[in-house]
Amino acid sequence: MAHVSELEASLRPPAMEMPPYPPKVITLASGEEMVVRQVDRKEIPTLLEAIYPLLWVERDFYDIVAARLFGELLAFKRYRVKDEYVLAGLIDGVLAGMVNGRLVDAKTGMSYHTLTIRRGLRVGSHLFAAKMEYHIEHCGQEEVLIVAESPIGFRRWMIEYPLEKRFEVQHELGGVPSWVLPSETYYAAKPRLVSGRRPVSEELMRGAAGIVLPAEETVVRQVAGEKEEAE
């Protein structure tokens, strides 16, 4: 790490040791291979560029998710959030979606956001599962605090796993009463919801080494749905 001034150091939250997320590959319904890998801090500006056009997409609450995620990733880049991580899903190197979260302490994780760009292939579901896998299996945490900011999220997380109420805890995302995924529930849901193969071939990893952004128009169209035009 580059030299950090005493003042800057005092502005940064203390950091815990975080294990790396081992990349995996998932075959999607389309037959395409999606590599899920950890995103380095240096790659955050690329993700911000992908998120930016979604700040004004109201459909399915993309605007609030994009706005919060933008801030969370910026905070990660500028060392203003404690123990955050980011995972991305890449198809042929092209960004299909991303998830992030952070470690509250050694035992508890805090899920932040799941943002899908390539819709209709359960990319968000796969990436959320990868996030839970990271907390429970790789960081060895006992539970993850979770909220949903859209009905789709509620269906995917609260109902599909299913999550337990932990309403006495206010989640960091807006102070919403929190839900929790205990490790036992995670392992019970794992055969249904967590997939992927390791190790990822060198060829696939080479293809996923960078992050290629779909065109801004493509991002918005995929997320918001095409607008009908009169014939």
Binding site: T27, L28, A29, S30, E32, L121, S125, A129, G196, A230
Partner: protein, 393 residues
């Protein structure tokens, strides 16, 4: 009975729309009227097909509303609600008006805007077509009926999940060639059935049916202009004649049927339509079936007479129902990929067939298609409308 022709066809893209119900209906209608190129010829009447607007959109009297939207007064106006068969029923009403001589030009528009409610409410609204005392109160939904039906058909005829997946793969592929289709995404056998991840990609909905065995919930509208022989002659251009229409019903509760795997209403409606058209199933060049669930495409392809009973899945396996097969089924992508805005679905069948018979289906055009067949499957097979269209020189 006077001959009836389809002079124009149009539709909106199916999917999730921010347009109002009436805007969807108007755009599809204007598209069909534009296609028909009526000039100064007046529209005598309109018939609107819809199933759920009263419940999910809080709007009724759609015929009157559409006349006003299009400023077509003093044209007559009706709305037809006949569950998922509303589209073809409305079409039948329009054709009857022409055939009887009461009208020369009728606009038939099907429309549905279902995505304004959540999935649970949408599923419940469609389930309201089930028998109220024998099915609905026990929580029966259309996916659950289709799941039980699929289980019986699979046990009896050796249909496997791979065959259901083949329907999905074919129709998704066709959907990518149709710019109006809700889903523009191919799927593979590996991705939805055989890869380890397929269990997550394609979760169960109502066993043995999984996510990719079910059509999406869609918004959209479709419209055709039916005309008399004299008007068709004035318009010139390619002529698509309504050669035969058949309708048949069956018991409301599926369990009351002697053999629940026998889609008797499809069989009887098809026989009537073919008889009226003077052709048989082997004469058909292109078919649009009501594949709300993948199993239905297989079962309807047999009940319509295209393949012997219990052999629809074998024909599928041989590739006979692909775009380049002996009998292409659902070149539009079907309900599976094109989408299923319930009231619009039956009319959308005629839109696709009209384009196919006029040679206007672009990347999914069936070469030299002259005879088309459509099956609009209402309820769970308790009210079916089958139609045969024929291209005339």
């Amino acid at each position: 009975m006077n001959p009836v022709y389809i002079a124009g066809a149009g539709m909106t893209k199916f999917g999730r729309s921010e347009w109002s119900l009436m805007k969807l209906a108007s755009v599809a209608s204007l598209s069909a009227l534009h296609h028909a190129n009526l000039g100064e010829i007046p529209v005598d009447g309109i018939v609107v097909a819809n199933m759920g607007a009263a419940r999910v959109n809080r709007q009724t009297a759609l015929g009157s509303a559409l006349v006003d939207q299009l400023a077509l007064y003093p044209a007559t106006a009706e709305a037809v609600e006949n569950g998922p068969a509303s589209g073809a029923s409305a079409f039948k009403v329009g054709c009857q008006a022409i055939a009887s001589g009461m009208a020369d030009v009728v606009l038939v528009t099907g429309v549905e805007r279902m995505r304004v409610v959540n999935g649970l409410e949408g599923t419940d609204f469609v389930a309201s077509l089930a028998h109220p005392e024998a099915e609905y109160i026990y929580g029966v939904t259309l996916p659950s009926l289709a799941g039980m039906f699929a289980r019986l058909v699979m046990d009896r005829f050796g249909v496997e999940r791979k065959h259901l997946a083949m329907v999905a793969i074919k129709n998704h592929e066709n959907g990518t060639k149709n710019p109006y289709a809700h889903i523009q995404q191919t799927v593979t056998m590996e991705g939805i059935l055989t890869a380890p991840e397929a269990a997550v990609n394609n979760p169960p909905i109502a066993e043995p049916l999984h996510l990719f065995d079910c059509c999406p919930v869609s918004d959209g509208a479709a419209s055709v202009v039916v005309v008399s022989e004299s008007v068709a002659a004035k318009l010139g251009g390619p002529k698509v004649r309504v050669a035969g229409i058949g309708q048949a019903t069956d018991t409301h509760a599926v369990h009351d049927r002697e053999d629940p795997t026998d889609l008797k209403s499809v069989r009887l409606a098809s026989e009537k339509a073919f008889s009226m058209a003077g052709v048989g199933p082997s004469d058909v060049d292109v078919a649009e079936l009501h594949d709300a669930f993948t199993i239905l495409e297989i079962a309807e392809s047999e009940a319509a007479g295209f393949f012997p009973r219990g052999e629809g899945h074998l024909a599928l396996e041989r590739g006979e129902t692909r775009l380049d097969g002996k009998l292409p089924i659902n070149p539009s992508g079907g309900l599976k990929a094109k989408g299923h805005p319930v009231g619009a679905t039956g009319v959308a069948h005629f839109v696709e067939l009209t384009w196919q018979l006029r040679g206007e289906a672009e990347g999914r055009q069936i070469k030299d298609a002259a005879i088309g067949y459509a099956c609009n499957f209402g309820g769970f097979g308790n009210n079916v409308v089958a139609t045969v269209l024929r291209r005339e020189a």
